[in-house]
């Protein structure tokens, strides 16, 4: 058991070193002119209230500009429930009955 723990630690240490070393190359954090603050974001900030009429820009993005994402989101929630219901549904009250059904199946 000992050896593969060491191997994982070494591997993840190398991954961590690569990730932290590469942070220097990334655009600095919080810089007002960082590439991610480009004309799309400026459009959201300036036109946000006029286009969607809501002052909370994040709400305007998730419910109006990118509403399809939120529809996908509601579906992921619905799948979570459908999956859990399929798994823990009321059906299987006694695991014993599940056993004999399973080995004949």
């Amino acid at each position: 058991m000992k050896w593969d723990k060491i191997f994982t630690i070494v591997l993840l240490g190398a991954l961590l070193f690569v990730l932290v070393a590469s942070i220097g190359e990334l655009p600095p954090m919080g810089a007002p002119d960082s590439p991610s603050y480009n004309e799309t974001t400026r459009y959201y900030v300036e036109e946000g209230t006029r286009d969607t009429g809501s002052t909370n820009l994040i709400a305007s993005i998730i419910t109006d500009y990118r509403a399809f994402d939120t529809l996908g989101e509601a579906t992921v929630l619905f799948t979570g429930i459908a999956g859990v219901a399929a798994l823990l549904g009321v059906a299987h009250h006694n695991p014993k009955e599940k056993e004999e059904e399973e080995n004949h199946g």
């Binding site: 209230t49 969607t52 994040i58 509403a67």
Partner: protein, 141 residues
């Protein structure tokens, strides 16, 4: 679990949590918060109720088929609003161009579809979290 103190305290604070949850949902497009966080706050009140009063009473508060209706209704409403955008001659999920009234900024009824969609989503998130909790609790019995 059926301790008297817990029940009385729950009875007292329940309406305040629910009021706060509804406030966060309805003011989703004005102040921080919105469908997901507001729904979770509202769900925490029902989870607290189920913890204090046991699963049967909890199930009476939000039974299986009402929660199923909330969840399915939530998505169907969302699709209906999207199709509404197409019917009015624009692409799917259009808000301002399709002519929904923008109202004046900073008021609850401003923003065309946004308050309605946020409210519908908030109810859906609430019923999902509560149903998850009830399913897990049922599993123990």
């Amino acid at each position: 679990m059926d301790d008297l103190f817990v029940r009385v305290i729950t009875k007292m604070i329940l309406p305040f949590i629910q009021l706060y949850g509804l406030y966060v949902i309805i003011h989703g497009h004005l102040s921080p918060g919105g469908a997901f966080s507001g729904g979770a706050i509202y769900a925490s009140s029902l989870v607290l109720y189920t913890l204090a009063y046991g699963l049967e009473k909890g199930q009476k508060r939000l039974s299986h088929n009402t929660s199923a209706i909330f969840e399915s209704g939530g998505i169907l409403f969302f699709i209906f609003f999207g199709i509404l955008g197409i019917v009015l001659g624009h692409s799917f999920l259009t808000n301002r161009q399709a002519g929904f009234s923008m109202g004046n900024l900073g008021q609850v009824l401003s923003g065309g579809l946004i308050p309605v969609v946020t409210f519908v989503l908030g109810i859906k998130v609430m019923s999902t979290v509560v149903t998850l909790f009830h399913n897990m609790l049922e599993e123990e019995r």
